[in-house]
Protein backbone atom coordinates (compact mmCIF):
# COMPACT_ATOMS: atom_id res chain seq x y z
CA UNK A 1 0.00 0.00 0.00
CA UNK A 2 1.20 3.44 -0.86
CA UNK A 3 1.99 5.80 1.97
CA UNK A 4 -0.48 8.59 2.54
CA UNK A 5 1.64 11.49 1.39
CA UNK A 6 2.32 9.73 -1.91
CA UNK A 7 -1.38 9.34 -2.62
CA UNK A 8 -1.78 13.00 -1.81
CA UNK A 9 1.02 13.83 -4.21
CA UNK A 10 -0.52 11.76 -7.01
CA UNK A 11 -3.97 13.24 -6.52
CA UNK A 12 -2.58 16.76 -6.45
CA UNK A 13 -0.61 16.14 -9.64
CA UNK A 14 -3.66 14.80 -11.46
CA UNK A 15 -5.64 17.82 -10.30
CA UNK A 16 -2.95 20.06 -11.80
CA UNK A 17 -3.17 18.07 -15.03
CA UNK A 18 -6.90 18.72 -15.31
CA UNK A 19 -6.45 22.40 -14.46
CA UNK A 20 -3.72 22.74 -17.10
CA UNK A 21 -5.78 21.18 -19.87
CA UNK A 22 -8.79 23.24 -18.88
CA UNK A 23 -6.82 26.51 -18.84
CA UNK A 24 -5.07 25.70 -22.09
CA UNK A 25 -8.38 25.23 -23.86
CA UNK A 26 -9.76 28.37 -22.27
CA UNK A 27 -6.77 30.31 -23.55
CA UNK A 28 -7.28 28.84 -27.02
CA UNK A 29 -10.93 29.87 -26.82
CA UNK A 30 -10.05 33.44 -25.83
CA UNK A 31 -7.41 33.71 -28.56
CA UNK A 32 -9.85 32.48 -31.19
CA UNK A 33 -12.40 34.98 -29.87
CA UNK A 34 -10.15 38.00 -30.26
CA UNK A 35 -9.05 37.11 -33.80
CA UNK A 36 -9.45 40.26 -35.87
CA UNK A 37 -10.94 38.46 -38.89
CA UNK A 38 -14.08 36.57 -39.74
CA UNK A 39 -12.75 33.04 -39.39
CA UNK A 40 -15.73 31.07 -40.61
CA UNK A 41 -16.32 33.06 -43.80
CA UNK A 42 -12.67 32.78 -44.70
CA UNK A 43 -12.57 29.06 -44.10
CA UNK A 44 -15.64 28.30 -46.13
CA UNK A 45 -14.54 30.50 -49.01
CA UNK A 46 -11.18 28.76 -49.00
CA UNK A 47 -12.38 25.21 -48.64
CA UNK A 48 -14.79 25.83 -51.53
CA UNK A 49 -11.93 27.10 -53.64
CA UNK A 50 -9.82 24.07 -52.69
CA UNK A 51 -12.41 21.35 -53.11
CA UNK A 52 -14.24 23.14 -55.90
CA UNK A 53 -17.48 22.37 -54.11
CA UNK A 54 -20.57 23.52 -55.91
CA UNK A 55 -22.43 26.41 -54.38
CA UNK A 56 -25.62 24.81 -55.69
CA UNK A 57 -26.89 23.32 -52.49
CA UNK A 58 -27.64 26.16 -50.05
CA UNK A 59 -28.73 23.67 -47.42
CA UNK A 60 -25.27 22.06 -47.37
CA UNK A 61 -23.57 25.44 -47.17
CA UNK A 62 -25.82 26.47 -44.30
CA UNK A 63 -24.97 23.25 -42.44
CA UNK A 64 -21.30 23.83 -43.03
CA UNK A 65 -21.58 27.32 -41.55
CA UNK A 66 -23.39 25.90 -38.55
CA UNK A 67 -20.75 23.27 -37.89
CA UNK A 68 -17.93 25.78 -38.13
CA UNK A 69 -19.74 28.27 -35.93
CA UNK A 70 -20.03 25.60 -33.32
CA UNK A 71 -16.43 24.39 -33.64
CA UNK A 72 -15.01 27.87 -33.23
CA UNK A 73 -17.43 28.61 -30.40
CA UNK A 74 -19.50 31.28 -32.11
CA UNK A 75 -22.97 29.87 -31.55
CA UNK A 76 -25.44 30.82 -28.85
CA UNK A 77 -24.78 32.90 -25.74
CA UNK A 78 -21.30 33.36 -24.40
CA UNK A 79 -21.64 30.58 -21.83
CA UNK A 80 -23.08 28.21 -24.41
CA UNK A 81 -20.27 29.03 -26.79
CA UNK A 82 -17.69 28.31 -24.14
CA UNK A 83 -19.27 25.05 -23.04
CA UNK A 84 -19.68 23.66 -26.54
CA UNK A 85 -16.16 24.70 -27.42
CA UNK A 86 -14.72 22.95 -24.38
CA UNK A 87 -16.85 19.93 -25.10
CA UNK A 88 -15.58 19.65 -28.66
CA UNK A 89 -11.97 20.11 -27.64
CA UNK A 90 -12.04 17.65 -24.77
CA UNK A 91 -13.70 14.91 -26.79
CA UNK A 92 -11.83 15.88 -29.98
CA UNK A 93 -15.17 15.69 -31.73
CA UNK A 94 -14.56 17.88 -34.76
CA UNK A 95 -16.79 15.97 -37.12
CA UNK A 96 -15.68 14.72 -40.49
CA UNK A 97 -12.24 15.48 -41.82
CA UNK A 98 -12.28 17.31 -45.15
CA UNK A 99 -9.03 15.66 -46.17
CA UNK A 100 -10.00 12.07 -45.48
CA UNK A 101 -13.74 12.07 -46.12
CA UNK A 102 -15.72 10.19 -44.91
CA UNK A 103 -13.47 9.32 -41.94
CA UNK A 104 -13.95 11.39 -38.80
CA UNK A 105 -11.16 13.47 -37.33
CA UNK A 106 -10.84 11.08 -34.41
CA UNK A 107 -10.35 8.09 -36.68
CA UNK A 108 -7.70 9.79 -38.78
CA UNK A 109 -5.78 10.95 -35.72
CA UNK A 110 -5.96 7.63 -33.89
CA UNK A 111 -4.62 5.89 -36.98
CA UNK A 112 -1.55 8.15 -37.13
CA UNK A 113 -0.95 8.62 -33.42
CA UNK A 114 0.98 5.37 -32.68
CA UNK A 115 3.60 6.36 -35.27
CA UNK A 116 4.29 9.69 -33.66
CA UNK A 117 4.26 8.28 -30.14
CA UNK A 118 6.70 5.54 -31.15
CA UNK A 119 9.10 7.99 -32.77
CA UNK A 120 8.88 10.45 -29.88
CA UNK A 121 9.30 7.94 -27.07
CA UNK A 122 12.13 6.12 -28.81
CA UNK A 123 14.14 9.17 -29.82
CA UNK A 124 13.50 11.23 -26.70
CA UNK A 125 14.50 8.51 -24.25
CA UNK A 126 17.51 7.51 -26.28
CA UNK A 127 18.81 11.05 -26.73
CA UNK A 128 18.21 11.83 -23.06
CA UNK A 129 20.07 8.75 -21.86
CA UNK A 130 22.95 9.06 -24.32
CA UNK A 131 23.39 12.79 -23.74
CA UNK A 132 23.41 12.51 -19.96
CA UNK A 133 25.82 9.60 -19.86
CA UNK A 134 28.23 11.18 -22.32
CA UNK A 135 28.05 14.46 -20.43
CA UNK A 136 28.84 12.83 -17.09
CA UNK A 137 31.60 10.61 -18.47
CA UNK A 138 33.26 13.48 -20.31
CA UNK A 139 33.25 15.63 -17.18
CA UNK A 140 35.51 13.01 -15.56
CA UNK A 141 38.08 13.69 -18.26
CA UNK A 142 37.73 17.45 -18.22
CA UNK A 143 40.45 19.22 -20.19
CA UNK A 144 41.25 16.29 -22.46
CA UNK A 145 41.13 16.68 -26.22
CA UNK A 146 37.99 14.58 -26.60
CA UNK A 147 36.10 16.68 -24.10
CA UNK A 148 37.09 19.89 -25.87
CA UNK A 149 36.03 18.52 -29.25
CA UNK A 150 32.71 17.30 -27.90
CA UNK A 151 32.05 20.61 -26.23
CA UNK A 152 32.69 22.65 -29.35
CA UNK A 153 30.51 20.25 -31.31
CA UNK A 154 27.73 20.64 -28.77
CA UNK A 155 27.91 24.41 -28.87
CA UNK A 156 27.47 24.29 -32.63
CA UNK A 157 24.71 21.65 -32.54
CA UNK A 158 22.69 22.99 -29.61
CA UNK A 159 21.13 26.10 -31.17
CA UNK A 160 20.19 24.31 -34.41
CA UNK A 161 16.55 23.24 -34.53
CA UNK A 162 15.83 19.57 -35.21
CA UNK A 163 14.39 20.17 -38.63
CA UNK A 164 17.34 22.14 -40.00
CA UNK A 165 19.64 19.28 -39.08
CA UNK A 166 17.10 16.93 -40.63
CA UNK A 167 17.57 18.72 -43.95
CA UNK A 168 21.31 18.17 -43.69
CA UNK A 169 20.73 14.47 -42.99
CA UNK A 170 18.39 14.18 -45.94
CA UNK A 171 21.03 15.68 -48.17
CA UNK A 172 23.68 13.28 -46.89
CA UNK A 173 21.67 10.06 -46.77
CA UNK A 174 19.22 10.76 -49.53
CA UNK A 175 21.65 12.01 -52.13
CA UNK A 176 25.29 11.36 -51.28
CA UNK A 177 24.93 7.94 -49.57
CA UNK A 178 21.50 6.64 -50.58
CA UNK A 179 21.06 4.16 -47.72
CA UNK A 180 17.49 5.02 -46.80
CA UNK A 181 14.61 5.60 -49.11
CA UNK A 182 12.79 8.86 -48.56
CA UNK A 183 9.69 7.85 -50.47
CA UNK A 184 6.45 7.56 -48.53
CA UNK A 185 6.29 4.10 -47.02
CA UNK A 186 3.56 1.56 -47.62
CA UNK A 187 2.93 -0.81 -44.74
CA UNK A 188 2.56 -4.54 -45.24
CA UNK A 189 -0.82 -5.65 -43.95
CA UNK A 190 0.52 -8.34 -41.62
CA UNK A 191 1.64 -6.62 -38.44
CA UNK A 192 3.61 -9.58 -37.12
CA UNK A 193 5.76 -10.23 -40.17
CA UNK A 194 9.45 -9.51 -40.48
CA UNK A 195 8.73 -7.26 -43.43
CA UNK A 196 6.63 -5.01 -41.20
CA UNK A 197 9.44 -4.58 -38.69
CA UNK A 198 11.95 -3.78 -41.43
CA UNK A 199 9.62 -1.21 -42.97
CA UNK A 200 9.03 0.48 -39.63
CA UNK A 201 12.73 0.44 -38.89
CA UNK A 202 13.60 1.98 -42.22
CA UNK A 203 10.97 4.66 -41.80
CA UNK A 204 12.02 5.51 -38.28
CA UNK A 205 15.83 5.45 -38.41
CA UNK A 206 16.53 8.77 -40.10
CA UNK A 207 13.94 10.93 -38.31
CA UNK A 208 14.98 9.41 -34.99
CA UNK A 209 18.65 9.93 -35.80
CA UNK A 210 18.12 13.62 -36.54
CA UNK A 211 16.36 14.13 -33.21
CA UNK A 212 18.83 12.02 -31.23
CA UNK A 213 22.00 13.66 -32.55
CA UNK A 214 20.80 17.20 -31.89
CA UNK A 215 19.16 16.35 -28.58
CA UNK A 216 21.88 14.13 -27.14
CA UNK A 217 24.97 15.95 -28.30
CA UNK A 218 23.39 19.38 -27.93
CA UNK A 219 21.34 20.31 -24.92
CA UNK A 220 21.43 17.11 -22.84
CA UNK A 221 25.19 16.85 -23.18
CA UNK A 222 25.81 20.50 -22.31
CA UNK A 223 23.50 20.56 -19.31
CA UNK A 224 24.58 17.24 -17.84
CA UNK A 225 28.24 18.17 -18.24
CA UNK A 226 27.70 21.51 -16.52
CA UNK A 227 25.91 19.80 -13.64
CA UNK A 228 28.53 17.07 -13.37
CA UNK A 229 31.30 19.68 -13.19
CA UNK A 230 29.41 21.37 -10.38
CA UNK A 231 29.17 18.13 -8.45
CA UNK A 232 32.84 17.35 -9.00
CA UNK A 233 33.76 20.59 -7.25
CA UNK A 234 31.72 19.58 -4.19
CA UNK A 235 33.32 18.25 -1.00
CA UNK A 236 31.53 14.91 -0.90
CA UNK A 237 32.83 14.06 -4.33
CA UNK A 238 36.37 15.02 -3.39
CA UNK A 239 36.10 12.82 -0.31
CA UNK A 240 34.95 9.92 -2.44
CA UNK A 241 37.83 10.47 -4.77
CA UNK A 242 40.36 10.60 -1.93
CA UNK A 243 38.94 7.40 -0.50
CA UNK A 244 40.05 5.84 -3.76
CA UNK A 245 36.66 4.75 -5.04
CA UNK A 246 36.80 3.38 -8.60
CA UNK A 247 35.81 5.84 -11.32
CA UNK A 248 32.86 3.72 -12.40
CA UNK A 249 31.44 3.80 -8.90
CA UNK A 250 31.90 7.55 -8.69
CA UNK A 251 30.17 7.94 -12.04
CA UNK A 252 27.21 5.75 -11.16
CA UNK A 253 26.57 6.64 -7.53
CA UNK A 254 27.91 10.18 -7.29
CA UNK A 255 27.43 11.82 -10.67
CA UNK A 256 24.56 10.18 -12.54
CA UNK A 257 22.40 9.90 -9.47
CA UNK A 258 22.61 13.62 -8.78
CA UNK A 259 22.21 14.62 -12.40
CA UNK A 260 19.16 12.47 -12.97
CA UNK A 261 16.57 14.42 -11.03
CA UNK A 262 16.99 17.93 -12.43
CA UNK A 263 17.33 16.39 -15.88
CA UNK A 264 13.97 14.64 -15.55
CA UNK A 265 12.41 17.97 -14.64
CA UNK A 266 14.09 19.54 -17.66
CA UNK A 267 12.79 16.73 -19.84
CA UNK A 268 9.21 17.21 -18.71
CA UNK A 269 9.48 20.98 -19.27
CA UNK A 270 11.00 20.58 -22.73
CA UNK A 271 8.50 17.99 -23.86
CA UNK A 272 6.37 20.54 -25.72
CA UNK A 273 9.36 21.77 -27.71
CA UNK A 274 10.52 18.25 -28.50
CA UNK A 275 7.01 17.37 -29.62
CA UNK A 276 6.84 20.35 -31.99
CA UNK A 277 10.27 19.56 -33.38
CA UNK A 278 9.29 15.95 -33.98
CA UNK A 279 6.20 17.05 -35.91
CA UNK A 280 8.31 19.11 -38.31
CA UNK A 281 10.92 16.36 -38.62
CA UNK A 282 8.19 13.94 -39.67
CA UNK A 283 7.16 16.21 -42.52
CA UNK A 284 10.67 16.30 -43.91
CA UNK A 285 11.10 12.54 -43.83
CA UNK A 286 7.62 11.69 -45.07
CA UNK A 287 7.10 9.79 -41.83
CA UNK A 288 3.46 8.72 -41.56
CA UNK A 289 2.77 10.39 -38.19
CA UNK A 290 0.78 13.34 -36.91
CA UNK A 291 3.23 15.90 -38.30
CA UNK A 292 2.79 14.79 -41.88
CA UNK A 293 -0.95 14.65 -41.27
CA UNK A 294 -0.85 18.21 -39.97
CA UNK A 295 1.04 19.29 -43.07
CA UNK A 296 -1.54 17.70 -45.35
CA UNK A 297 -4.38 19.16 -43.30
CA UNK A 298 -2.92 22.67 -43.46
CA UNK A 299 -2.43 22.42 -47.21
CA UNK A 300 -5.96 21.14 -47.75
CA UNK A 301 -7.45 23.81 -45.49
CA UNK A 302 -8.84 21.05 -43.29
CA UNK A 303 -9.62 23.09 -40.16
CA UNK A 304 -11.43 20.35 -38.22
CA UNK A 305 -8.41 18.11 -38.56
CA UNK A 306 -5.96 20.89 -37.57
CA UNK A 307 -8.01 21.74 -34.51
CA UNK A 308 -8.17 18.05 -33.69
CA UNK A 309 -4.40 17.77 -33.80
CA UNK A 310 -4.01 20.93 -31.72
CA UNK A 311 -6.29 19.63 -29.00
CA UNK A 312 -4.68 16.20 -29.25
CA UNK A 313 -1.21 17.68 -28.73
CA UNK A 314 -2.29 19.83 -25.80
CA UNK A 315 -3.81 16.83 -24.04
CA UNK A 316 -0.95 14.55 -25.08
CA UNK A 317 1.85 16.77 -23.86
CA UNK A 318 0.03 17.55 -20.61
CA UNK A 319 -0.57 13.87 -19.91
CA UNK A 320 3.01 12.91 -20.76
CA UNK A 321 4.35 15.58 -18.42
CA UNK A 322 2.02 14.35 -15.71
CA UNK A 323 3.14 10.74 -16.16
CA UNK A 324 6.74 11.85 -15.88
CA UNK A 325 5.99 13.68 -12.66
CA UNK A 326 4.18 10.64 -11.31
CA UNK A 327 7.32 8.58 -11.91
CA UNK A 328 9.31 11.05 -9.82
CA UNK A 329 8.96 9.19 -6.48
CA UNK A 330 10.51 6.10 -8.08
CA UNK A 331 13.71 8.04 -8.61
CA UNK A 332 13.80 10.54 -5.80
CA UNK A 333 13.91 8.88 -2.38
CA UNK A 334 13.28 12.24 -0.73
CA UNK A 335 9.72 12.15 -2.01
CA UNK A 336 9.30 8.43 -1.39
CA UNK A 337 10.19 8.47 2.31
CA UNK A 338 9.12 11.52 4.18
Amino acid sequence: MLPKHLIKYFLFRILILLATIFTAFTITFVILKIMPIDIVNNIIARSMAVTGAALGDPEAVRRMYEIYYEIFGLKGTFIEQYVSFLNRFLTMDFGISILARPATVQEVISYRLPWTVALLVFSTILSWVIGNIIGAVVSLFEGSKLSNILQSLAIILYPIPYYVFALVLIYIFGYIIPLFSLTPIRLPSNIFSLEFIITVFRAMTLPALSIIVIGALGWWFLSSRAMALNIISEDFYLYGEIRGLPKLHLLKKYLLKNILLPQITALSINLGTIFGGALLTEILFNYPGLGTLLYQAVNAGDYPLVLGIVSMSIIGVAVATCIMDLLYPLIDPRIRYR
Binding site: T28, N42, I155, P159, V164, L167, G276, L294, V306, A318
Partner: protein, 294 residues
Protein backbone atom coordinates in the same frame (compact mmCIF):
# COMPACT_ATOMS: atom_id res chain seq x y z
CA UNK B 1 16.39 59.66 -12.59
CA UNK B 2 15.80 55.96 -12.87
CA UNK B 3 15.85 56.19 -16.62
CA UNK B 4 19.14 58.09 -16.48
CA UNK B 5 20.66 55.31 -14.39
CA UNK B 6 19.52 52.71 -16.88
CA UNK B 7 20.97 54.63 -19.80
CA UNK B 8 24.22 55.11 -17.91
CA UNK B 9 24.37 51.40 -17.20
CA UNK B 10 23.82 50.61 -20.85
CA UNK B 11 26.65 52.89 -21.94
CA UNK B 12 28.97 51.46 -19.36
CA UNK B 13 28.20 47.96 -20.63
CA UNK B 14 28.75 48.94 -24.24
CA UNK B 15 32.14 50.42 -23.40
CA UNK B 16 33.03 47.24 -21.57
CA UNK B 17 32.50 45.07 -24.68
CA UNK B 18 36.25 45.21 -25.19
CA UNK B 19 36.57 42.93 -22.20
CA UNK B 20 34.08 40.40 -23.55
CA UNK B 21 35.28 36.85 -24.07
CA UNK B 22 36.12 34.98 -27.21
CA UNK B 23 32.63 33.55 -27.60
CA UNK B 24 31.06 36.97 -27.74
CA UNK B 25 33.60 38.24 -30.23
CA UNK B 26 33.25 35.24 -32.53
CA UNK B 27 29.46 35.39 -32.38
CA UNK B 28 29.32 39.13 -32.94
CA UNK B 29 31.68 38.86 -35.91
CA UNK B 30 29.60 36.16 -37.62
CA UNK B 31 26.44 38.12 -36.93
CA UNK B 32 28.00 41.29 -38.29
CA UNK B 33 29.02 39.55 -41.53
CA UNK B 34 25.52 38.14 -41.98
CA UNK B 35 24.08 41.61 -41.32
CA UNK B 36 26.30 43.20 -43.96
CA UNK B 37 25.11 40.54 -46.35
CA UNK B 38 21.53 41.34 -45.42
CA UNK B 39 22.07 45.05 -45.91
CA UNK B 40 22.94 44.35 -49.56
CA UNK B 41 19.23 43.70 -50.00
CA UNK B 42 18.69 47.46 -50.25
CA UNK B 43 20.32 47.21 -53.67
CA UNK B 44 17.78 44.59 -54.83
CA UNK B 45 16.94 45.15 -58.50
CA UNK B 46 13.26 45.66 -59.31
CA UNK B 47 13.06 42.53 -61.49
CA UNK B 48 13.84 40.34 -58.51
CA UNK B 49 10.19 39.86 -57.61
CA UNK B 50 9.27 38.29 -60.97
CA UNK B 51 9.27 34.56 -61.48
CA UNK B 52 11.04 33.07 -64.48
CA UNK B 53 12.95 36.30 -65.11
CA UNK B 54 16.15 34.28 -65.17
CA UNK B 55 16.80 30.85 -66.73
CA UNK B 56 15.58 28.13 -64.37
CA UNK B 57 17.93 26.11 -62.16
CA UNK B 58 21.06 27.83 -63.43
CA UNK B 59 24.18 26.80 -61.44
CA UNK B 60 26.33 29.57 -59.97
CA UNK B 61 28.46 31.56 -62.35
CA UNK B 62 30.31 34.83 -62.19
CA UNK B 63 28.70 36.50 -65.21
CA UNK B 64 26.71 38.93 -63.03
CA UNK B 65 25.72 39.51 -59.41
CA UNK B 66 22.34 37.86 -60.05
CA UNK B 67 24.02 34.55 -60.82
CA UNK B 68 26.58 34.44 -58.02
CA UNK B 69 24.55 31.80 -56.17
CA UNK B 70 22.75 30.52 -59.25
CA UNK B 71 19.01 30.61 -59.78
CA UNK B 72 16.05 28.64 -58.43
CA UNK B 73 13.64 26.32 -60.17
CA UNK B 74 11.20 29.19 -60.47
CA UNK B 75 13.77 31.38 -62.14
CA UNK B 76 14.74 33.71 -59.34
CA UNK B 77 18.18 34.76 -58.19
CA UNK B 78 19.25 32.91 -55.05
CA UNK B 79 21.58 35.74 -54.09
CA UNK B 80 18.90 38.42 -53.91
CA UNK B 81 16.46 36.02 -52.24
CA UNK B 82 19.00 35.30 -49.55
CA UNK B 83 19.83 38.94 -48.82
CA UNK B 84 16.15 39.81 -48.56
CA UNK B 85 15.46 36.71 -46.51
CA UNK B 86 18.04 37.68 -43.90
CA UNK B 87 16.49 41.12 -43.42
CA UNK B 88 12.92 39.83 -43.30
CA UNK B 89 13.72 37.01 -40.90
CA UNK B 90 15.53 39.45 -38.64
CA UNK B 91 12.56 41.83 -38.72
CA UNK B 92 10.30 39.01 -37.53
CA UNK B 93 12.85 38.11 -34.87
CA UNK B 94 13.16 41.70 -33.63
CA UNK B 95 9.38 42.25 -33.51
CA UNK B 96 8.96 39.03 -31.53
CA UNK B 97 11.76 39.74 -29.10
CA UNK B 98 10.63 43.32 -28.49
CA UNK B 99 7.07 42.21 -27.81
CA UNK B 100 7.60 38.94 -25.97
CA UNK B 101 10.53 40.03 -23.82
CA UNK B 102 8.92 43.25 -22.71
CA UNK B 103 5.59 41.64 -21.92
CA UNK B 104 7.57 39.08 -19.96
CA UNK B 105 9.58 41.82 -18.28
CA UNK B 106 6.52 43.77 -17.15
CA UNK B 107 4.59 40.74 -15.94
CA UNK B 108 7.67 39.24 -14.28
CA UNK B 109 8.61 42.41 -12.38
CA UNK B 110 5.04 43.19 -11.37
CA UNK B 111 4.29 39.75 -10.01
CA UNK B 112 7.68 39.57 -8.34
CA UNK B 113 7.28 42.94 -6.60
CA UNK B 114 3.60 42.87 -5.77
CA UNK B 115 3.38 39.25 -4.64
CA UNK B 116 0.16 37.98 -3.15
CA UNK B 117 -2.92 37.44 -5.27
CA UNK B 118 -1.61 39.32 -8.33
CA UNK B 119 1.49 37.13 -8.32
CA UNK B 120 -0.57 33.94 -8.02
CA UNK B 121 -2.94 34.85 -10.85
CA UNK B 122 -0.20 35.98 -13.20
CA UNK B 123 1.95 32.94 -12.56
CA UNK B 124 -0.99 30.59 -13.06
CA UNK B 125 -1.61 32.23 -16.42
CA UNK B 126 2.07 32.02 -17.32
CA UNK B 127 2.29 28.36 -16.34
CA UNK B 128 -0.74 27.50 -18.41
CA UNK B 129 0.81 29.18 -21.43
CA UNK B 130 3.99 27.20 -20.86
CA UNK B 131 1.95 24.00 -20.71
CA UNK B 132 0.46 24.57 -24.17
CA UNK B 133 2.75 23.02 -26.78
CA UNK B 134 3.79 26.07 -28.77
CA UNK B 135 3.99 24.81 -32.31
CA UNK B 136 0.42 23.51 -32.76
CA UNK B 137 -0.99 26.71 -31.29
CA UNK B 138 1.08 28.92 -33.61
CA UNK B 139 0.12 26.75 -36.55
CA UNK B 140 -3.55 27.19 -35.75
CA UNK B 141 -3.18 30.96 -35.40
CA UNK B 142 -1.08 31.32 -38.54
CA UNK B 143 -3.59 29.29 -40.49
CA UNK B 144 -6.51 31.40 -39.34
CA UNK B 145 -4.70 34.71 -39.89
CA UNK B 146 -3.32 33.66 -43.28
CA UNK B 147 -5.48 36.12 -45.28
CA UNK B 148 -4.04 39.16 -43.49
CA UNK B 149 -0.58 37.91 -42.55
CA UNK B 150 2.44 40.25 -42.65
CA UNK B 151 5.86 40.41 -41.02
CA UNK B 152 4.60 42.23 -37.94
CA UNK B 153 1.63 39.94 -37.41
CA UNK B 154 3.85 36.89 -37.76
CA UNK B 155 6.00 38.34 -34.98
CA UNK B 156 2.91 38.82 -32.82
CA UNK B 157 1.81 35.22 -33.39
CA UNK B 158 5.21 33.89 -32.38
CA UNK B 159 5.28 36.21 -29.34
CA UNK B 160 2.16 34.56 -27.97
CA UNK B 161 4.13 31.41 -27.22
CA UNK B 162 7.44 33.08 -26.33
CA UNK B 163 6.62 35.49 -23.52
CA UNK B 164 5.87 33.10 -20.62
CA UNK B 165 9.47 31.91 -20.33
CA UNK B 166 10.83 35.40 -19.88
CA UNK B 167 8.10 36.25 -17.39
CA UNK B 168 9.03 33.24 -15.25
CA UNK B 169 12.73 34.00 -15.27
CA UNK B 170 12.31 37.72 -14.60
CA UNK B 171 9.99 36.95 -11.70
CA UNK B 172 12.56 34.62 -10.17
CA UNK B 173 15.26 37.30 -10.40
CA UNK B 174 12.93 39.98 -9.01
CA UNK B 175 11.99 37.77 -6.08
CA UNK B 176 15.61 37.31 -5.11
CA UNK B 177 16.27 41.04 -5.49
CA UNK B 178 13.25 41.98 -3.38
CA UNK B 179 14.85 40.50 -0.29
CA UNK B 180 18.16 42.34 -0.80
CA UNK B 181 19.11 45.01 1.71
CA UNK B 182 19.22 47.91 -0.71
CA UNK B 183 15.67 47.29 -1.91
CA UNK B 184 14.35 46.99 1.62
CA UNK B 185 16.25 50.14 2.52
CA UNK B 186 14.73 51.97 -0.43
CA UNK B 187 11.28 50.81 0.60
CA UNK B 188 11.70 52.04 4.17
CA UNK B 189 13.05 55.37 3.02
CA UNK B 190 9.70 55.94 1.35
CA UNK B 191 10.49 55.38 -2.31
CA UNK B 192 7.45 54.69 -4.46
CA UNK B 193 7.09 51.24 -5.97
CA UNK B 194 7.66 52.53 -9.50
CA UNK B 195 10.81 54.30 -8.46
CA UNK B 196 12.11 51.16 -6.77
CA UNK B 197 11.38 49.16 -9.91
CA UNK B 198 13.21 51.59 -12.17
CA UNK B 199 16.18 52.60 -10.10
CA UNK B 200 16.81 49.61 -7.83
CA UNK B 201 15.54 46.54 -9.62
CA UNK B 202 15.62 47.23 -13.32
CA UNK B 203 19.39 47.86 -13.61
CA UNK B 204 20.03 44.40 -12.16
CA UNK B 205 17.68 42.74 -14.60
CA UNK B 206 19.12 44.53 -17.62
CA UNK B 207 21.84 41.95 -18.24
CA UNK B 208 19.47 39.01 -18.20
CA UNK B 209 17.06 41.00 -20.32
CA UNK B 210 19.71 41.47 -23.01
CA UNK B 211 20.49 37.75 -23.27
CA UNK B 212 16.81 37.00 -23.14
CA UNK B 213 16.13 39.26 -26.11
CA UNK B 214 18.79 37.47 -28.13
CA UNK B 215 17.51 34.03 -27.17
CA UNK B 216 13.98 35.02 -28.10
CA UNK B 217 15.23 36.21 -31.48
CA UNK B 218 16.78 32.79 -31.93
CA UNK B 219 13.51 31.10 -31.07
CA UNK B 220 11.54 33.39 -33.35
CA UNK B 221 13.74 32.69 -36.38
CA UNK B 222 13.36 28.98 -35.68
CA UNK B 223 9.60 29.26 -35.26
CA UNK B 224 9.25 31.14 -38.54
CA UNK B 225 11.16 28.40 -40.33
CA UNK B 226 8.92 25.83 -38.68
CA UNK B 227 5.78 27.62 -39.83
CA UNK B 228 7.22 28.03 -43.30
CA UNK B 229 7.70 24.26 -43.60
CA UNK B 230 3.93 24.03 -43.48
CA UNK B 231 3.53 26.87 -45.95
CA UNK B 232 2.19 29.12 -43.21
CA UNK B 233 4.78 31.85 -43.41
CA UNK B 234 4.46 34.74 -45.88
CA UNK B 235 5.03 32.73 -49.02
CA UNK B 236 5.14 35.69 -51.39
CA UNK B 237 8.01 37.27 -49.43
CA UNK B 238 11.58 36.06 -49.06
CA UNK B 239 12.38 34.84 -45.57
CA UNK B 240 14.78 32.11 -44.55
CA UNK B 241 11.75 29.94 -43.88
CA UNK B 242 10.05 30.47 -47.21
CA UNK B 243 13.32 29.84 -49.04
CA UNK B 244 13.41 26.42 -47.42
CA UNK B 245 9.71 25.99 -48.19
CA UNK B 246 10.36 26.45 -51.92
CA UNK B 247 13.42 24.21 -51.77
CA UNK B 248 11.23 21.49 -50.39
CA UNK B 249 8.37 22.23 -52.75
CA UNK B 250 10.58 21.81 -55.79
CA UNK B 251 12.53 18.86 -54.35
CA UNK B 252 15.77 20.79 -54.79
CA UNK B 253 17.64 18.49 -52.43
CA UNK B 254 16.86 15.40 -54.45
CA UNK B 255 17.78 17.17 -57.69
CA UNK B 256 21.12 18.02 -56.08
CA UNK B 257 20.67 21.76 -56.61
CA UNK B 258 23.21 22.46 -53.92
CA UNK B 259 23.59 26.13 -54.85
CA UNK B 260 19.97 26.67 -53.90
CA UNK B 261 19.95 24.43 -50.81
CA UNK B 262 23.21 25.36 -49.12
CA UNK B 263 22.92 29.20 -48.81
CA UNK B 264 19.73 29.41 -46.71
CA UNK B 265 20.58 26.42 -44.53
CA UNK B 266 24.17 27.55 -43.96
CA UNK B 267 22.97 31.09 -43.18
CA UNK B 268 20.40 29.70 -40.78
CA UNK B 269 22.94 27.56 -38.96
CA UNK B 270 25.46 30.42 -38.80
CA UNK B 271 22.78 32.81 -37.57
CA UNK B 272 21.72 30.41 -34.82
CA UNK B 273 25.31 29.81 -33.86
CA UNK B 274 26.26 33.49 -33.78
CA UNK B 275 23.24 34.55 -31.72
CA UNK B 276 23.82 31.70 -29.31
CA UNK B 277 27.49 32.61 -28.93
CA UNK B 278 26.62 36.27 -28.33
CA UNK B 279 24.08 35.37 -25.66
CA UNK B 280 26.43 32.97 -23.83
CA UNK B 281 29.15 35.58 -24.18
CA UNK B 282 27.00 38.16 -22.42
CA UNK B 283 26.05 35.61 -19.77
CA UNK B 284 29.67 34.78 -19.07
CA UNK B 285 30.48 38.48 -18.91
CA UNK B 286 27.76 39.11 -16.38
CA UNK B 287 28.41 36.01 -14.33
CA UNK B 288 32.18 35.47 -14.16
CA UNK B 289 31.66 32.12 -12.46
CA UNK B 290 30.59 30.70 -15.82
CA UNK B 291 33.96 31.57 -17.30
CA UNK B 292 36.19 28.55 -17.35
CA UNK B 293 39.56 29.16 -15.78
CA UNK B 294 42.26 27.75 -18.00
Amino acid sequence: MGVRLVVQGLFKNIIKTRKMGLKFKAGATIFFVIMIFGLLSFLTPHYHSYWYHFPQAHPPSLQSVDFIFGTTSNGRSVFWSLTNAIVNSLIIAVVTSMLACHIGLIIGILSGIKGGVIDKIMMFLTDSFIAIPGLPLTIMLAMILKPIINLFLLGVIISIISWPWSARMIRAITLSLREKDFVIFAKFSGMSTWKIIFSEIFPHILGFHATNIINTMLGAIGAEVGLAFLGLSIIEMDTLGTMIYWIQRYGAILQNMWWWVVPPIATLILLFLSLYLVSTGIQEFLNPRLRRVK
